[in-house]
C-alpha cells in the first residue's frame, strides 16, 4: 500500500502537483491519464523520491518514507525515452539492479535471463543497447524494471515513442509480461484514454497537477466527475455547450430546442450539456454544417458546426461528407450528459451514482 498525503510541489509559480491525496493498493494497476504536463510524471517522481516536495508525505505500508532517498525505496521505473546502460550488454543491463542488491553474479544473470525471455529478448543477451531497435530497447528497460520484483513499479508512457503497431503488440503482451509483478502497486502513465481503459484496474485522471477523478475505467467513462474528465476520457472527446432545461424540453443556443425528453432530467435551470460523438444521429432537428470529416477505417469522425457550437460526431462505417455540406442532426436525448455551469457532473445516462 502506497499513500500520498497532501503532496504538493510548485516550481517558479508552475504547479507540478497540488494537494495529492491518494492510496494505491498492492495488486492493482493504476493508469494515470492526462495531457502532457498534467503532472503524471511529477506524481511518479514524487513517489520515487526524485522530486523534492514542498509539503506532504509518502507512506509505504504505513511507514513514512518521505525522507528516504531514491536508492533506498526499492521501486522500479520505465521511462518514456529508451534509457538503458549503454556500456553494459542486454543481460548485464537487466542484472544490474540485482547486483546492486547484493545478488551473486551467476544468480543475477540467471534471473535476468528469465525476464529477458519473458519480453522475448532471450536471443539478444550479448548485444549492446545501441544495437537494438527502439522496441527492443524498451523491452530491455521493461525487463530491468520487472526483474527487481519491486513492490512499486512505474511505467511512464512506456509506449509513446514506439511505432503504432509495436505499441499495439507490446500493449497486448502487458498482462502476460506483468504477471510476476502483479502483487505490486503498478502505475502506468498515458495520454491515451483507450490505453488507460484497456490496461487499468483503476484510472486517475490528472490535470494541472491535480487528480480530477479516480475509479474503475467504466465508472469514470460513464460518469465523469466533471467536463474536464469527460473531455480527457473521450477519444474523440465529448462536445459541450450551454443549454436550459424547462420541464421535459432542452433549449439550446440559436433557438433550437429538443422537446419531450423521456429520461429523468435534472431540475429546470441552466446547464452545460454534453453529447458523446456516438450519440449523434442523422436525420434530426438540428441544422449543422460539416467543417471536416475524417475517415478512420470503420468509423467516420465528423466535425460539425451548429448554431450553438462545434460538435463532434462519430458514425459507424465509412461515410464521406464534403466540407461545408449541410446536415440535419439529432441527439440521442436519453444519452445526454448534464453538467453544472461550473462543470460538475449533474446527470449521466449510464452507470450507478458514484459515492
Amino acid at each position: 500500500m502506497l499513500e500520498m498525503h497532501d503532496v504538493s510541489r510548485t516550481v517558479d509559480g508552475e504547479v507540478h502537483l497540488a494537494d495529492i491525496n491518494f492510496t494505491f493498493e498492492a495488486g492493482k494497476l493504476y493508469t494515470i491519464l492526462g495531457r502532457t504536463g498534467a503532472g503524471k510524471t511529477s506524481l511518479m517522481r514524487a513517489l520515487m523520491g526524485l522530486l523534492p516536495l514542498d509539503r506532504g508525505q509518502v507512506l509505504l505500508d504505513g511507514q513514512d518514507i518521505t525522507a528516504h532517498p531514491v536508492w533506498e525505496r526499492k521501486m522500479a521505473m520505465v521511462y518514456q525515452q529508451f534509457i538503458n546502460y549503454p556500456h553494459l550488454n542486454v543481460l548485464d543491463n537487466v542484472a544490474f539492479p540485482l547486483r546492486r542488491q547484493g545478488v551473486r553474479k551467476a544468480e543475477a544473470r540467471a534471473r535476468a535471463r528469465e525476464f529477458l525471455e519473458l519480453v522475448d529478448l532471450g536471443s539478444m543477451l550479448d548485444r549492446r543497447p545501441s544495437q537494438l531497435s527502439g522496441g527492443q530497447q524498451q523491452r530491455v528497460a521493461l525487463a530491468r524494471a520487472l526483474v527487481k520484483e519491486a513492490r512499486t513499479l512505474m511505467l511512464d508512457e512506456p509506449l509513446v515513442n514506439l511505432d503504432y503497431k509495436l505499441r499495439e503488440q507490446l500493449r497486448e503482451q502487458f498482462p502476460r509480461i506483468l504477471e510476476r509483478n502483479r502483487n505490486s502497486v503498478i502505475l502506468y502513465a498515458t495520454t491515451e484514454p483507450r490505453e488507460a481503459m484497456q490496461l487499468g484496474d483503476e484510472i486517475l485522471v490528472m490535470h494541472e497537477g491535480r487528480i480530477l477523478d479516480t475509479g474503475p475505467p467504466e465508472e469514470i467513462f460513464d460518469r465523469p466527475a466533471n467536463i474536464q474528465v469527460a473531455t480527457i476520457m473521450g477519444d474523440p472527446p465529448i462536445s459541450t455547450f450551454p443549454g436550459v432545461i424547462e420541464g421535459d424540453t432542452l433549449r439550446l443556443g440559436g433557438g433550437i430546442s429538443i422537446p419531450g425528453i423521456r429520461r429523468a432530467l435534472p431540475g429546470d435551470g441552466e446547464y452545460l450539456v454534453g453529447v458523446r460523438p456516438i450519440d449523434i444521429n442523422i436525420p434530426g432537428p438540428i441544422p449543422a454544417q460539416v467543417a471536416i470529416s475524417e475517415v478512420s477505417g470503420s468509423e467516420t469522425v465528423v466535425h460539425l458546426i451548429t448554431p450553438f457550437g462545434d460538435v463532434l460526431m462519430l458514425s459507424q462505417g465509412v461515410s464521406s461528407y464534403d466540407p461545408d455540406e449541410r446536415l440535419e442532426i439529432g441527439f440521442v436525448a436519453d444519452n445526454l450528459y448534464f453538467f453544472s455551469t461550473d462543470g460538475r457532473l449533474i446527470s449521466a445516462p449510464y452507470g450507478e451514482e458514484r459515492a
Partner: protein, 361 residues
C-alpha cells in the same frame, strides 16, 4: 502547385548492396492529400527526402509538372517541409517567425505583413502574433513551423514528416483539421509520413502503405480497410488487425475448419496456401443459434470506452477478435455466436488478395 512524378526511382545508401527504396513509379496528383504509411525503416522517409531534395535518388528521375528536377537543389523546389519536432526561431515572436522566409527573400514590408496576417488567421494564430515563440505550446509551435512554409505563395507541396508525434491526442484533431483546411483553401499537395494508421487514414485522400522499401498497396482509406491487397496491409491497417484463418479447398468448396464458413469455389485448386481474412469490425456477436460463421468462447473483453474489443477462442484454438461500439454485457467464459457477412470476407493466396468470399461462385 505541382504534380510530382517518380520514374523508376530507387535508392540505396550503400552503393547498391541493399535498397532502402526499391525501384518504383508513382505519381502524386496536384492538390491532393496523401499519406505514406509504414513501420520504421520501410523507406517512407527516404522517399520524402527524395521529393524534397534533401536526398538525390541513386536511380531514376523525379519530375515536377513534367520538368525534371532530379538534379536541382532543395531550395529550388518550392517545397515546405514540417518535421517531427517543431522548428521555430525561439528568440522571435510568432509574427517574426512567420515573416522570416519572406524577409530573407527581400519581400516588401507591406506584402510581408499582408501574407503573414492571412496565414496567421488561417492557422488561428492571430491573437498570438506578438507572443514570443518559445512560450507557445507544442501544437502551437508546430502550427508556426507549418505557417512558415505557407507564407511563400510559390509553395507547391507540403511534406509532413510525422508532424503530430509531439502533440497530445486531443490537439491532434485540431491540427489535422487545420491541415485539411489549408489543403482545401490553397490546393497545395500534401504528403504526410506516419507510422500511425489512424493518422494516415483520417488525413489522406489516398494512402500508400510501404514495407521494406516497397509499396504494398495504394488506395483510398476505405479500400485499404475493406479490401486489403495483402495480409500485411490487413495486419498493419486496423486496430486490432484483421483476423486471418487458414482455409482449405475440397470438392469445389472453400471452407475453413472449425467454422461454418464454406463457399463454392471451383477455380482455387493449386493456388497454394489460402487464408480468409475479415475485420474485427465486421464480426457480429449474436446468439449461438443464429450465428452464420462460428460459435466461440469469450476469452477477454476490453472496454475501451467508445468501443469494446472482444477476444474469442474458436474450436481448434483459433483466436478471432471482434470490435463493437454498442455496449457489451457478456463476460469472459460466455459462449457467443459469430456472424460475418460473405461480402466482408477476403480471400488470400500466399498472402496476396485473390478475391472476396461472395464473388467466388
Amino acid at each position: 502547385m505541382a504534380r510530382i512524378e517518380l520514374r523508376d526511382v530507387a535508392h540505396s545508401y550503400n552503393g547498391g548492396k541493399d535498397y532502402a527504396l526499391k525501384p518504383l513509379n508513382m505519381v502524386w496528383e496536384d492538390g491532393r492529400t496523401y499519406a505514406l504509411l509504414g513501420p520504421s525503416g520501410c523507406g517512407k522517409t527516404t522517399m520524402l527526402n527524395i521529393i524534397s531534395g534533401l536526398l538525390k535518388p541513386s536511380e531514376g528521375r523525379l519530375l515536377f509538372d513534367g520538368v525534371d528536377v532530379t538534379d536541382s537543389k532543395a531550395e529550388g523546389r518550392n517545397i515546405a517541409q514540417v518535421f517531427q519536432f517543431p522548428v521555430i526561431y525561439s528568440t522571435m515572436t510568432v509574427a517574426q517567425n512567420l515573416a522570416f522566409p519572406l524577409v530573407c527573400r527581400g519581400y516588401p514590408v507591406n506584402e510581408i505583413k499582408q501574407r503573414v496576417d492571412s496565414v496567421a488567421e488561417l492557422l488561428g494564430l492571430s491573437e498570438l502574433m506578438q507572443y514570443p515563440a518559445r512560450r507557445l505550446t507544442a501544437d502551437q509551435k508546430q502550427l508556426v513551423s507549418m505557417g512558415r512554409g505557407l507564407v511563400r505563395e510559390d509553395v507547391s507541396a507540403i511534406l509532413l514528416d510525422e508532424p503530430l508525434t509531439v502533440i497530445d491526442p486531443q490537439m491532434k484533431f485540431e491540427l489535422r483539421r487545420k491541415l485539411k483546411q489549408i489543403n482545401r483553401e490553397f490546393g497545395i499537395t500534401m504528403v504526410f509520413v506516419t507510422h500511425d494508421q489512424t493518422e494516415a487514414m483520417t488525413f489522406a485522400e489516398e494512402v500508400v502503405v510501404m514495407k521494406d522499401g516497397e509499396i504494398m498497396q495504394r488506395g483510398a482509406p476505405q479500400d485499404l480497410f475493406e479490401r486489403p491487397g495483402n495480409t500485411f496491409v490487413g495486419y498493419f491497417i486496423g486496430s486490432p488487425p484483421m483476423n486471418f484463418l487458414s482455409a482449405e479447398v475440397a470438392e469445389g468448396k472453400l471452407s475453413c475448419p472449425n467454422t461454418k464458413f464454406s463457399v463454392p469455389a471451383d477455380n482455387l485448386g493449386g493456388k497454394g496456401e489460402i487464408q480468409i481474412g475479415f475485420r474485427p469490425e465486421f464480426v457480429e456477436l449474436v446468439d449461438p443459434e443464429k450465428a452464420n460463421f462460428a460459435t466461440a468462447r469469450i476469452e477477454k473483453v476490453d472496454n475501451l470506452g467508445v468501443e469494446t474489443i472482444v477476444t474469442l477462442t474458436l474450436p481448434g484454438n483459433l483466436t478471432v477478435r471482434a470490435k463493437t461500439t454498442t455496449r457489451f454485457h457478456q463476460d469472459a467464459g460466455d459462449v457467443v455466436g459469430l456472424s460475418v457477412s460473405d461480402d466482408r470476407i477476403q480471400l488470400y493466396s500466399n498472402g496476396q488478395r485473390i478475391g472476396q468470399a461472395n464473388e467466388m461462385a
